[in-house]
Amino acid sequence: MEVIPTVVTASRWGIETAGLTRRYGATVALEELALTVPEGAIYLLAGRNGAGKTTLLRVLLGVIRADAGDAFVGGVRSGPNGAARVGIGYVPESQETPYGALRLRDLLAHVARYRRSWDGEYAQHLMRELELDAASRIEALSKGQLRRVQLVLALSHRPGVLLLDEPTDGLDPLARDVVLRLLVEHVTDSPATVLVATHVVQEMDRLADHVGVLREGRLIAQLTRDELRSKLRRYRFRAPADWTPPELDVAHRNGGPAEHEWTVWGEESEVSGRLASAGAAVSAAAPLTLDEAVITLLKLEDR
């Protein structure tokens, strides 16, 4: 039975962790994590609540310490000294933003004092695109507007690495669309490695070229989107009542006694061949959407 890969290959890494472990008392948030994001990749990090996604991002930022292992972002070791953060743009999970009495333009000016590569014109462009008023006070902004402010803060210094934790959480559908468009424009103009942790997986269907799935702090799958698309497929077939099913890496079984619908991991030609050899007539072998694929991978561990 073929194993779902947890290793991707590349010549240069935008983000790399090795043996990364973080515990909160008896709870293991990250366990021996070896996450590798190729430079310039858009990497979807999926997982259930409490899987360790946010902890991972905070370790990468260097604001919490790993109990063991190493983390490098843009080739720089993550740590409290802030060296790795020079090249990171970060959208946190929470929309809470400090300095409520501050006007938006003053918040941008404040962050710009810390960012030597701050691009003021680009910040203004993002503000316009995201329909933010520079004269607004932070405390007067809605949840969705605060999320947009966080995106402006994350992108305006054109970082080499973007760590986005639920970047579209709290946004209305139109704003989500704008944000996703701006992200695409951003990585086109300023090549960046993007790590997106989100539950809204379907949004990343058109963007993500790498996928990682975290489960209870462990990486249970890490592969390219192309590999996922080509190897995890849903097969629809008819089989005789007395057939003997072939040995396959079946992730999910559905359908009735006559028509079956199996989600199987493996090369399509090999899976279809084995089904045919067992007497099944395959009528379709379709790739899964990213959302379906992630759900399947998450369930896979339960077998």
């Binding site: 310490r65 409290p80 060296a83 990171i88 946190p92 404040h110």
Partner: protein, 270 residues
């Protein structure tokens, strides 16, 4: 550290500007102006024959300044505990330096407000024909003068940078400390009488916060020509001024330093 990270001085400058932009400094200076008015009123109502016992900071002013400083510590980073500062966590600055810069920025603005208040009080006092004697004030006395407000600020700012419930924490801490001090004083009285309680009080936080500033400066100003020695106390125009009051200041500065270092170390280890 990479050249592109922000150093301590840049972070401090950014935080000093930030406190102006969020309007906190405006509030502090308004309160300082009110303190000057209060000081002026106290000077105005003091009979001229009692001017000789006035230090240039009135006892009431010292306590008021400590209360203002404690409030400033809570207000400076009010409702901005670490959990709310997530977007700022990505800033390219050493976490400890950043935290210290935030605390130091508040302390510097407090000192500015304090110095302005004192200067204004001196001018008011001088306008009544009573120029305080500032010459010859020992450096330790100046440190002690500023200790009360700064210590109060450091205690409360540590609470406000670490938790959402800073006001409750500070009030609870004050009540707990008062109770503990009362109990320890009672025990000291039982064992060693009034002398033991006196010795204990010399080192108490309340002494460092409330008493040291006024009395040390008064000592420096008036003791040379007005003091006699009774037992171990210097008597300055009828006020008891214990030279050991400097010790309370030193002791609590040291403890505050350790507490701050511990808090920063814990946060860095998180």
């Amino acid at each position: 550290m990479s050249a592109a990270t922000i150093g301590w001085s840049d972070a401090l400058r950014a935080q000093l500007v930030l406190l102006v932009r969020v309007g906190r400094v405006r509030v502090l200076l308004t309160i300082a102006a009110l303190a000057v008015l209060f000081s002026s009123y106290m000077i105005w109502r003091t009979p001229s024959e009692d001017f000789r016992i006035l230090s240039f900071v009135l006892m009431e002013m010292q306590v008021l300044l400590v209360v203002i400083a404690a409030g400033w510590g809570i207000a400076t980073w009010w409702h901005e505990p670490p959990a709310r500062r997530d977007p700022m966590l990505a800033l390219p600055v050493d976490l400890t330096q950043h935290e210290l810069a935030r605390i130091a920025a508040g302390a510097l603005w407090l000192l500015v407000a304090f110095a302005l208040t004192l200067a204004a009080s001196v001018i008011v006092q001088a306008s009544f024909g009573q120029m305080p004697v500032i010459r010859g004030v020992a450096p330790a006395a100046w440190i002690a003068l500023f200790s009360g407000p700064l210590l109060a600020y450091l205690i409360t700012v540590t609470a406000s940078t670490g938790t959402r419930r800073s006001l409750e924490l500070v009030l609870a801490g004050f009540v707990a400390l008062s109770l503990a001090y009362g109990i320890v004083s009672g025990l000291a009285f039982e064992r060693g009488g009034a002398g033991a309680v006196d010795r204990l009080s010399r080192y108490s936080l309340f002494m460092a916060l409330g008493g040291v500033g006024t009395e040390t400066v008064r000592t420096a100003s008036y003791a040379p020509d007005g003091s006699t020695v009774q037992e171990q106390f210097r008597v300055v125009y009828g006020s008891y001024v214990d030279p050991h009051w400097y010790d309370a200041s030193v002791l609590w500065w040291t403890l505050a330093g350790f507490a701050l270092a511990f808090v920063l170390w814990r946060r860095r280890r998180a």
